[in-house]
């Protein structure tokens, strides 16, 4: 990836409204043909970054390069970037075809070229034959498609999508997710997608930039941000996480040991921790195994923590459990129905043992 020249290069970008700092020191490179997602809770600055890229806001400091040229001072209409808005913002006085043709008409292209390209875009979003329709008569999903067709018709270098799926219902959203992904691959266009839905981000993106309080916490592939979160925020925001606050008791170059629920546990020393360092240990619920006492052969050698089942939620493909450890601490575990473990009949109050495979936990330095 690094050898390819970035299409969008954002360096030391800052944005504040008065004394209110929205974005601090954003550094981000987006590569050609990439599907990059800006993920974060509402108010984290991701939409502001999108507006800075599209040109509706001017940065307080820093610069944005598009294809090697600085666009920081250019007005929106001079940037080769189009946006799919959250509210679609379709032009109500124009029909479907004229909405799609708008960007081409602004360039005063010949009529037959406008026609060819507008129809091509409508075909790409599967709206062939909708030309004459009034946009107000379309369903939410269809309006969404018009908005996408309108934004891709001009073949922008980058397409920005501002939570475009948030107003669709669950099933339609799922369909549009995969369609958008296909469209992006088909057009080989660079997409910058904003969402607060971590599931959406994981399933669609090539890379995810996780935002929190106006800065990027982590940039990485969905797998990287999920499996090796670099901060407590990322771990907690993407997926569920059990977080233990612990202290390293002894450490060497390879392993670091700590005491959890009065049991010593040693893991890979991924963060060069030293004895006495305070850490967070993060374990995903699906990485935790819950055994009934009869299934455990030697509960003293492995790190098996005794626990009581306090809540059972049947989810279809998983059973989600809340288990209370001896210390009173409650942790969450997701058990899959699979061939290895057919017996998932848990009962409330049942005594069990929990464990996880060494190496599946993530150690992070202690954050306040």
């Amino acid at each position: 990836m690094t050898r390819i020249k970035p299409l969008v290069e954002i360096t030391n970008l800052k944005k504040s409204f008065g004394s209110n700092t929205i974005l601090k020191d954003i550094n981000l490179s987006v590569y050609p043909g990439e599907f990059l997602t800006l993920l974060g809770p509402s108010g984290c600055g991701k939409t502001t970054l999108l507006r800075l890229i599209s040109g509706f806001e001017t940065a307080t400091d820093g610069q944005i390069l598009l294809d090697g040229h600085c666009v920081s001072q250019l007005p929106p209409q001079q940037r080769d970037i189009h946006t799919v808005f959250q509210t679609y913002a379709l032009f109500p006085h124009l029909n479907v075809y004229e909405n799609v043709a708008f960007a081409l008409r602004c360039q005063k292209l010949p009529e037959d070229e406008i026609k060819t390209r507008a129809h091509e875009a409508l075909t790409q979003v599967q709206l062939t034959g909708f030309d004459k329709r009034d946009t107000k008569q379309l369903s939410g999903g269809q309006q969404q498609r018009v908005a996408i067709a309108r934004a891709i018709v001009n073949r922008p270098k980058v397409l920005l999508l501002d939570e475009p799926l948030s107003s669709l219902d669950y099933r339609l959203r799922k369909n549009m997710q995969s369609e958008l992904k296909h469209l992006q691959k088909e057009l080989n266009m660079t997409f910058i997608f904003v969402t607060h839905d971590q599931e959406e981000a994981l399933s669609m993106s090539d890379r995810i930039a996780v935002f929190n309080h106006g800065h990027i916490e982590q940039i990485g592939t969905p797998r990287e941000v999920y499996e090796t979160p670099e901060s407590l925020f990322v771990a907690g925001f993407i997926g569920e996480a059990n977080i233990f606050d612990l202290e390293i008791t002894k450490a060497d170059a390879k392993s670091a040991c700590t005491v959890i629920e009065d049991k010593e546990m040693c893991c890979n020393n991924t963060g060069n921790f030293k004895a006495g360092d305070k850490i967070h240990m993060i374990i995903r619920p699906e990485d935790i195994r819950v055994w009934s006492p009869s299934e455990v052969k030697d509960k003293d050698t492995q790190v098996m923590l005794p626990a009581t089942i306090s809540e059972i939620t049947y989810k279809g493909k998983t059973v989600d459990l809340s288990v209370t450890l001896a210390s009173g601490r409650v942790i969450y575990a997701s058990e899959f129905f699979d061939e290895d473990d057919g017996d998932l009949d848990y009962e409330l109050g049942e005594q069990v043992f929990v464990e996880w495979y060494s190496g599946w936990e993530v150690l992070l330095p202690y954050e306040k």
């Binding site: 209409q77 808005f85 032009f91 109500p92």
Partner: protein, 273 residues
Amino acid sequence: MKNRSLALSAIYIWLFAFALIPIALTVAASFLSSSTSELITLPFTLSNYQSLFSPLLLHILLRSLGLALVTTFFCLALAYPFSYFMVKSKHQSLMLLFIIIPFWTSSLIRTYALIAILKFNGLLNTALLKLHIISSPITFLYTNFAVISGLVYTLFPFMVLPLFTNMERFDFRLIEAARDLGASRRQTFWRIFLPSTKPGILSGVMMVFLPAMTLFYIPQILGGARSILIGNLIQNQFLVAGDWPQGAATSIFLTFILLIFMVMYRKPWSKQS
């Protein structure tokens, strides 16, 4: 349901009594003859309409149309940006109040007040002289300029209000969408903002153009005897000449012309919605 039909029939009775019957009476009167002893009398005649086709009336009609068009144009040219800034302003309700306050004073009195501004040694001339823009006073009063000023001043709110209501509903995110898709400011205005505010423009034009044709007291006060317009003509025929059938015929003729204009305006509008 019962209340609704009651309200509906009340409206129909109202319209019947105060719109349909008067129009029918006017139409009837326009086909009758005048006499010195009575307002209208038999026999039926077409002469009132025949006398309409005179070069004098054509002249007055064209002049009225011209003045009404110019008035409408200036009202629109002033009210369009005004409404835009009003929608964008933080002091919207205050501005709206200033538009409405003059309505609390009689329009007739406000027109007389304009004389004080426009007359030979009035406010406007004094100001222009003091500022050394002119060296001797200009005759404003009893000119077309005075009549148009008076009409524009009186009818301006009727243009602002429909435009303001329309622009207030405009989704300004569409401006961003257009700019984002590569439209220049000019293209955004002509392709997005102007077409979206077309219903507001049309109703504003109707609200200004129709009264501008018929408001007789403004040309009379500010235009003097020279400025006979269609409204004044009808007034003269009824009240000065006492020829009610002729006045009725001219009224019906004017109504007919205005109807044609309304149909012409409605057409492009109804096509859209």
